[in-house]
């Protein structure tokens, strides 16, 4: 039921690497979860459909209360669905307890057993699976090496640092070689430097083990840097699934665009629309091409919202937008210019600082040029 402990890490990684791209590890169909009943009922998940591919680093991203942790807990088996189905490796897991699913969880608080040493913690899952002692010991040693915790093997959780506890929690969840590793905001308790370090560590572990990772976070930067694919969630629904680049460059709706990165919203009128491309007229009268979310066919003459990322625009002699700098915020590598547009509304622009040059001061009149393919029409 759990992954075979004998297959060595490399073989498994290669095999799954080859399978990546197509094979579904987790399939979620029409999953709905309602907590409470009657007037107090709260819909935590609403008709969620999702496929996680074998061997990928998949992230559930959303603000707190969006249902991402509920979804994770339902995959793990801690919560039962109100409606819908979950299949892991092609098998419906309805009614199976967490101890009977080939899935392990890394908890936000680590949840290490305080009465066991690091090594005992890591070996717990294998012992519960009834593996022979020799095999458990070998596996524990391997996992300690993998997370670089050999010197701390005999320490209790209380005697090691937060980052080290994190590594032990990871090793404990990986030791039984689950098909899927679920990570519930595992980095949120760490300070910035350690978090960056652990981000790299997680990617390395995922690559070395080839296990499918489902990672929950509310940190958009973490999601962008680590994931193969991201599902953006809000109020129990999945709004968009795609690669970090796709999510960032081609957000489907206002929430996704707003939640991930800094964004400028402009009102525009559709001039022409063909497939996933459209031409829009900006308030200034400039007509520009813009990409369109899949399945959305804007009607010519209709009003739409378009987005522009701050780094997809630049100051220029000649441009689509004209305004006055209200504020210039210095960030070291670049300066953020907040511009009040002549046509109304505000626009934020990221300008890279060059040696010896000066960003426009507040009050300066500027013209802004939007980069080619920098415009994106949003779902209304």
């Amino acid at each position: 039921m759990a992954a075979d402990g004998t297959a060595d890490v490399e073989t498994r990684a290669r095999r799954d690497g080859a399978a990546a791209g197509g094979t579904a590890e987790i399939e979620i169909v029409g999953l709905t979860k309602v907590f409470g009943r009657g007037s107090e009922a709260a819909r935590a998940l609403d008709e969620v459909n999702l496929t996680v591919r074998r061997g990928e680093f998949f992230t559930l991203l959303g603000p707190s209360g969006c249902g991402k942790t509920t979804l994770l807990r339902m995959i793990a088996g801690f919560e039962q669905p109100t409606r819908g189905a979950i299949r892991i490796d092609g098998r419906d897991v309805a009614g199976l307890g967490p101890n009977r699913r080939p899935v392990n969880t890394v908890f936000q608080s680590y949840a290490l057993f305080p009465h066991m040493t690091a090594a005992e913690n890591i070996g717990f899952g294998l012992r519960m699976l009834g593996r022979p002692r020799r095999e458990v010991e070998a596996k524990v040693a391997e996992m300690l090496r993998l997370v670089r915790m050999e010197p701390m093997a005999n320490r209790r959780p209380a005697a090691i640092s937060g980052g080290q506890q994190q590594r032990v929690a990871l090793a404990r969840a990986l030791a039984p070689r689950p098909r899927v590793l679920l990570l519930d905001e595992p980095l949120s308790a760490l300070d910035l430097k350690l978090r960056k370090e652990m981000q790299g560590e997680l990617k390395r572990l995922q690559a070395e083990t080839g296990i499918t990772f489902v990672f929950v976070t509310h940190d958009q930067e973490e999601a962008l840097t680590m994931s193969d694919r991201i599902a953006v969630m809000d109020r129990g629904r999945i709004l968009q699934v795609g690669s970090p680049r796709a999510i960032y460059d081609r957000p489907a709706d206002r929430f996704v665009a707003d939640f991930i990165g800094d964004t400028n919203f402009l009102e525009a009128v559709v001039v022409r629309s063909v497939g996933d491309a459209a031409t829009v007229r900006l308030p200034s009268g400039a007509v520009r091409a813009a990409s369109v979310p899949e399945g959305l066919a804007p009607v010519a003459g209709g009003r739409v919202t378009v987005v522009v990322r701050p780094e997809h625009a630049a100051l220029a002699e000649d441009g689509e937008l004209v305004g006055v700098v209200e504020e210039a915020v210095y960030f070291g590598t670049d300066t953020h210019l907040h511009v009040r547009l002549d046509t109304g509304g505000r626009f934020t622009l990221r300008r890279q600082n060059m040696a010896g040059d000066h960003a426009p001061e507040p009050g300066a009149a500027v013209t802004i040029r939007i980069a080619e393919s920098g415009l994106r029409v949003l779902r209304p």
Binding site: F78, P98, A111, F113, H115, F124, G125, M128, A158
Partner: protein, 318 residues
């Protein structure tokens, strides 16, 4: 220059001032400790010392003691003299059996309380926050009624014409009543009933502190419910179990009312034996010696138990 000298003088001054301050602080600390010390010395150690002293004196004819040193009290704890020939000495089997019954019944009571108290405490600890206080309150309600009255109530339940026997007979399950009253079983039932809250409360406190995510983690790592209980819950609530066991064992081994009412006159426990010596027996030194022996047994049991319990280190220790 002057300022520098002044500062040097100021620097030089502190040692005296510090010493004085330390002295004052020390005096104040003793003053603050005084009430506690008075209570400890007068209320705890004092009476114990009196009991210890009495155990080495000679019994007075009508009770009380004569101030003549004697080891006879201690001798009689363990040995009996022949009525016709005081020089013939044998081991005091009556005392030995009472000692044994006390230790054994106290131990059994502790085990029963643990077996009943664990699920009870678990149940309460897993109620929603609002209702937990209510359940705890319910657990403590029996404390509001006098122990003697509660014990007589149990008598009503288990005597031959009592509730249990009448129901069983009415149902045709038994033909003749089962003799429960005035047996060790009756004492056991009474003590388990009376001391159960002392087990539930510390167990509840330990379970309340238990992080539910640890249980989820174990469950997630392929442990069945039973193994979660065995490998995670039990080790982590052990301090509560130890505290509860101590709280139940100590009053059980010294119980007086329960064996008196439910055990009748026949099934004595240590406290009843001691009471006999101070009352009808008019042998205060023997009673005192027995009381000290009881104290030693309790201390010994505590020592053994704590040694045994701390073999695995405290889970919270780093």
């Amino acid at each position: 220059m002057t300022t520098v000298r002044e500062r040097l003088q100021a620097d030089a001054a502190p040692p005296d001032a510090e010493a004085a301050a330390a002295l004052a602080a020390g005096r104040r600390r003793w003053l603050l400790l005084a009430p506690a010390l008075v209570v400890l010395v007068l209320a705890a150690s004092g009476p114990l010392l009196v009991v210890l002293a009495y155990s080495f004196l000679t019994p007075g004819t009508f009770g009380g003691v004569r101030w003549e040193l004697s080891a006879e009290g201690w001798f009689r704890v363990f040995f009996a003299r022949d009525i016709f020939d005081p020089e013939t000495v044998r081991l005091n089997h009556a005392h030995a059996s009472i000692f044994w019954r006390s230790v054994s019944l106290a131990f059994q009571t502790t085990v029963i309380c643990a077996l009943l108290g664990f699920p009870t405490a678990w149940f309460i600890a897993n109620r929603p926050e609002r209702t937990r206080a209510v359940w705890l309150f319910v657990i403590t309600i029996p404390f509001w009624t006098n122990l003697l009255i509660r014990t007589f109530a149990i008598q009503e339940v288990i005597r031959n014409e009592g509730l249990v026997n009448s129901v069983l007979m009415a149902l045709g399950l038994i033909q003749a009543p089962i003799q429960m009253l005035y047996t060790d079983f009756a004492i056991l039932v009474g003590m388990a009933y009376v001391f159960l809250p002392l087990m539930v409360l510390p167990l509840y406190a330990a379970m309340d502190r238990l992080d539910p995510r640890l249980l989820e983690a174990a469950y997630d790592l392929y442990a069945s419910r039973v193994r979660v209980l065995w490998h995670v819950v039990l080790p982590l609530v052990k301090p509560g179990l130890i505290a509860g066991s101590i709280l139940v064992f100590i009053p059980s081994i010294g119980a007086y009312v329960t064996p008196r009412v439910l055990g009748g006159g026949r099934n004595l426990m240590l406290a009843n034996l001691i009471e006999l010596q101070f009352g009808q027996g008019r042998n205060w030194p023997l009673g005192a010696a027995l009381a000290v022996t009881l104290l030693v047994i309790v201390l010994f049991a505590l020592f053994v138990y704590l040694r045994f319990a701390s073999k695995d280190e405290d889970p919270r220790r780093a």
